[in-house]
Subunit: 325 residues, 2 copies
Amino acid sequence: MSSIYKLEDILDIVNAEIANIRFTQKPESLFEPISYILSLGGKRIRPALALMACNLYTDDISKALPIAKAVEVFHNFTLLHDDLMDRADMRRGKQTVHLKWNDNTAILSGDAMLIEAYREICKVDSTYLKSILDLFSKTASEICSGQQYDMEFERRLDVTIPEYLEMIRLKTAVLLGCALKEGAMVAGAPEEDLDNLYEFGINLGLAFQLKDDLLDVYGDTQSFGKKMGGDIVCNKKTYLLINALEDPSVREDLLYWINIVDFNESDKIEAVKNIYNKLKLKERTEHLIRDYYKKSINYLNQLNLETGKKVILQSVAEQLMSRNS
Amino acid sequence: MSSIYKLEDILDIVNAEIANIRFTQKPESLFEPISYILSLGGKRIRPALALMACNLYTDDISKALPIAKAVEVFHNFTLLHDDLMDRADMRRGKQTVHLKWNDNTAILSGDAMLIEAYREICKVDSTYLKSILDLFSKTASEICSGQQYDMEFERRLDVTIPEYLEMIRLKTAVLLGCALKEGAMVAGAPEEDLDNLYEFGINLGLAFQLKDDLLDVYGDTQSFGKKMGGDIVCNKKTYLLINALEDPSVREDLLYWINIVDFNESDKIEAVKNIYNKLKLKERTEHLIRDYYKKSINYLNQLNLETGKKVILQSVAEQLMSRNS
């Protein structure tokens, strides 16, 4: 009889594995920032998904460890470079790398980190190496495209909802799909299941990012790690803002707050939140999140596996949707 | 009878292949800078070495094309990020990417370019994929270390000659060694030859970089692409400057020119060049270049091949040593 790991066991394994990554190369000044950003924690959702997908087809989840580590190292590499590009001061309550060190260190340690992600993923069973690498590189490239779109959206007021959804698919969803699909690949899962797991990840990722957009405005101040209303303050093109901008009845009012230079942050957050309330954007976003969640579960249900095995992935998806932080 | 390509044929193939690289992904704004920097030209020495090493063991040099393209794309990725970190204005007579676009584009297009290098190298015959990737990633990581040392040397006046030689080994030589070794690997060359080709590349690379240091001071103004004396103006820790700093008889005079804030560039270049002349550093550097050149040829001679096949690599090495630009 095969055994399915519980989520807390999976997370224990992931956290131990990430904590055990050592960079012995010189100079230390280049690799220290990599250890630093990896030590800041995070949900570790991507590596957990890789191991859980693997576990659907084998008890030996160690097969997926290179993938788990590679996707987490890669994800943190993108955070390191994104924080630099966005001039962000804080990441998970600590100083960002470019502030703690400097811009050049952030650039070069990030580059070294991307290379480390590749070194890690190359440790998979050689049978699957080529397919694993092809999907990993395709995904990595798509994430760069997503970040480029995200930055370009900053200078635009006419971003459409399909454009936005495509951006978050690239920037967030494809890595979840990749982690799931590759975790199952190294366990020898059938091709059809691989595609369904990938689509499960894509829809979960879209729901996940929309939930992030929602939490910035309607999250629990206590438990949400980031500063509440941060997206509103810096005019970030979220699903809520793009929807509001498309509504003629509030556009003028909204543009006033977008263009205002000298303002009190709480005033702006309250004013924009009032606009969102008026348009019932909380409900609209929650509705779309539920749609993507349901789609993701449909893909999960199509896996050629007994229901018992899928329960853990379903419950993870539920937790991500109902989270307050 | 097997045929050996001439250098000009190899370069024609390399240039055609590089010119044919197309990035069809979106958004174009992310991939345009990659095409731009690849279009600026350069000696294409790394891809040429990969194809020549392959050609030692097979007529079918197409086997090494993924390696040739990957090392050239990777090399240009390092130039893109290095230019940003060094705040360089010009690259091969044209604007650098971060000036033509902006810093964030340089960061993100560079990241996408590094991923493209991996996508390219993954096209090698799957028999060799794992070993090719392991050496490529090791080399890529070493090059980041080399750049980090180079940047750290900027703030130091006590860099030793062994430290300097290790830095240029990492920053420059290992990619030549990697290109040669991997070119031969995909042609099925014996293990012993692979090691000798790698060492040929290392020594050639060290000689190559020392020649660059020399040309900045003693090159032909007409044919040297970069501004003459550029290294002197910005106090770059070259082999010549490090040697001069170690000499008590000129150190005080040299420190005056290193620390001077307001100066005429030609005055500084002439003054520092006079110090180098006094210490006969041109001769000392030429001597070391010849030593590395000879070592490289020794490794070449150890290859288990008829002499006729090695002539092309020997003549390339000679050309790199005797170049004026």
